[in-house]
């Protein structure tokens, strides 16, 4: 046992085999078998979520957990490169500040409370419905208006096209909300 341990010690090994002691003879088992953490991971192709350049990303994941997010060398836009934000996309998803539960603040409350997702959805639907019922205007001077100006939406430039489409469809064409806006101007 002691002999075994001593044999692992580089100095002893150097003395024994006469090398300079900095090379392979000093590699530990870990060094010898070192592999990138992405080895054996699944790869999913993605696009960077930060700015409008649209760099290609490769998402490496194992057993449902993110391992690494890197540039996609095949992208004709980014050629595998990323900026500091794009290079940090893994931390964006995994940092401890990520929310995983609905936080609720009741009227006049002083602290957050945690509530279940389903309950939150029901409550939000109720609030939207009540506000819409109270404020919906069907006509003005005999012309159709068919809108409510009392409920607003903000956001979209960070979302997917499909998400924006459903937002505009439900909020605009379904509920009659006109106050719909986001970071973009056109």
């Amino acid at each position: 046992m002691l002999k075994d341990l001593l044999m692992r010690w580089p100095v002893i090994r150097q003395i024994q085999n006469g090398s300079n002691g900095n090379g392979e003879e000093s590699w530990s088992e870990r060094t010898r078998t070192l592999k990138p953490k992405t080895a054996g991971a699944e790869v999913t192709r993605s696009i960077c979520p930060y700015c409008g350049v649209g760099c290609g990303q490769l998402i490496f994941h194992k057993d449902g957990k993110l391992v690494s997010i890197e540039g996609d060398p095949a992208s004709p836009i980014s050629r595998g490169h990323l900026c500091p934000k794009g290079a940090n996309t893994h931390q964006l998803h995994t940092h401890p500040g990520r929310l995983a539960k609905v936080k609720y603040r009741r009227p006049h409350g002083t602290e957050w409370e945690e509530i279940e997702l389903d309950k939150a959805m029901e409550m939000i639907a109720d609030r939207v419905w009540d506000s819409r019922e109270r404020t919906f205007q069907e006509k003005q001077d005999d012309w159709n208006v068919m809108h409510t100006k009392a409920i607003a939406h903000l956001g979209g430039a960070t979302l997917d096209n499909e998400e924006n489409y459903l937002i505009k469809k439900l909020f605009g064409a379904g509920l009659g909300m006109v106050c719909i806006s986001n970071q973009a101007r056109i």
Partner: protein, 278 residues
């Protein structure tokens, strides 16, 4: 592995290198972040330095790439709109992976080794935190993490290199200011690039690769404008152990009486690491 992963094609036994071409660097710090992401390094300070856009300030145990910002000051008196008097240079610093490496020479435990790609690798499972390497690095690259007890520095992404992947910093770099490849190829490229820059009138451009000192050249070369000191690069770096020609064999013999003590510390450190790595 997906077909879209570009591989370096570099086999073990071939010597690899970085060439950081500061004439292409835009100071974005993608290299710093890509390095920290891949190597899972912690953030290490949230204070404004007041020194240009450099809030990283130095390489350390949790910072293995560091972009330096050099602001050229306009000539006093010109004032007003004299933009031609301004310059802003950036250069991404990193472990030099010296041909003759002070850290590696000084390491009593064999934690620092030469890899199959010629890089200098600090084996975290062997390091016992003695910090001899810290004082022996002519570039001030290695730093001990006092909380953890061990020393750390750039791994040259040896783990990635083993799978023929380029290091994380070089891969991320948007303008390919950080190049990774075979040492000989990059040395040739650097010479060509220097000629191009000189032809364009950048007569202050030079290659930083101290082959004529005891360091005998580095595997992280730089192309810079102006003097090396401007980028905190020592003009004549020397290896402190240069006089100990026999390297570790002589060190081991001279220090024979210390063996028992060192062995104990080595074993103790190993036990601790096993806990950490579990």
């Amino acid at each position: 592995m997906s077909a879209s992963m570009e591989t370096t094609g570099i086999q073990p036994g071939e010597i690899t290198a970085f060439l950081t071409d500061s004439t292409l660097c835009i100071g974005c710090k993608a290299c710093e972040v890509a390095c920290k992401e891949w190597n899972e390094l912690e953030q290490d300070g949230l204070t404004l330095s007041g020194f240009s856009y450099d809030n990283t300030m130095a390489l350390g145990h949790s910072t293995w790439r560091h972009v330096k910002f050099v602001e050229g000051t306009p000539e006093p008196g010109l004032g007003g709109n004299a933009p031609q008097q301004l310059s802003w240079e950036f250069s991404s610093d990193v472990c030099k992976h010296c041909e003759v490496a002070g850290c590696l020479e000084a390491c009593p435990t064999g934690a620092l080794v030469r890899t199959e790609f010629g890089g200098v690798y600090l084996q975290p499972d062997i390091c016992n935190g003695c910090a001899y390497c810290v004082v022996s690095c002519p570039f001030g690259v290695v730093q001990k993490n006092e909380e953890d007890g061990r020393a750390f520095k750039c791994t040259f992404c040896t783990d990635r290199q083993k799978d023929q992947l380029q290091p994380a910093c070089a891969k991320a770099c948007p303008t390919e200011s950080i190049k990774f490849g075979r040492l000989d190829d990059l040395r040739a490229h650097a010479r060509e690039r220097l000629e191009t820059l000189h032809a364009r009138g950048m007569h202050d451009a030079q290659i930083y690769d101290p082959t004529d000192t005891s360091v005998k050249g580095i595997h992280s070369m730089f192309l810079i404008r102006g003097e090396p000191e401007t980028y905190n690069l020592p003009p004549r770096p020397e290896v402190p152990t240069v006089y100990l020609k026999e390297g570790w064999r002589s060190a081991a013999i001279q220090g024979i009486t210390l063996i028992a003590g060192v062995a104990l510390s080595f074993l103790a450190a190993r036990a601790k690491r096993n806990e950490v790595q579990a």
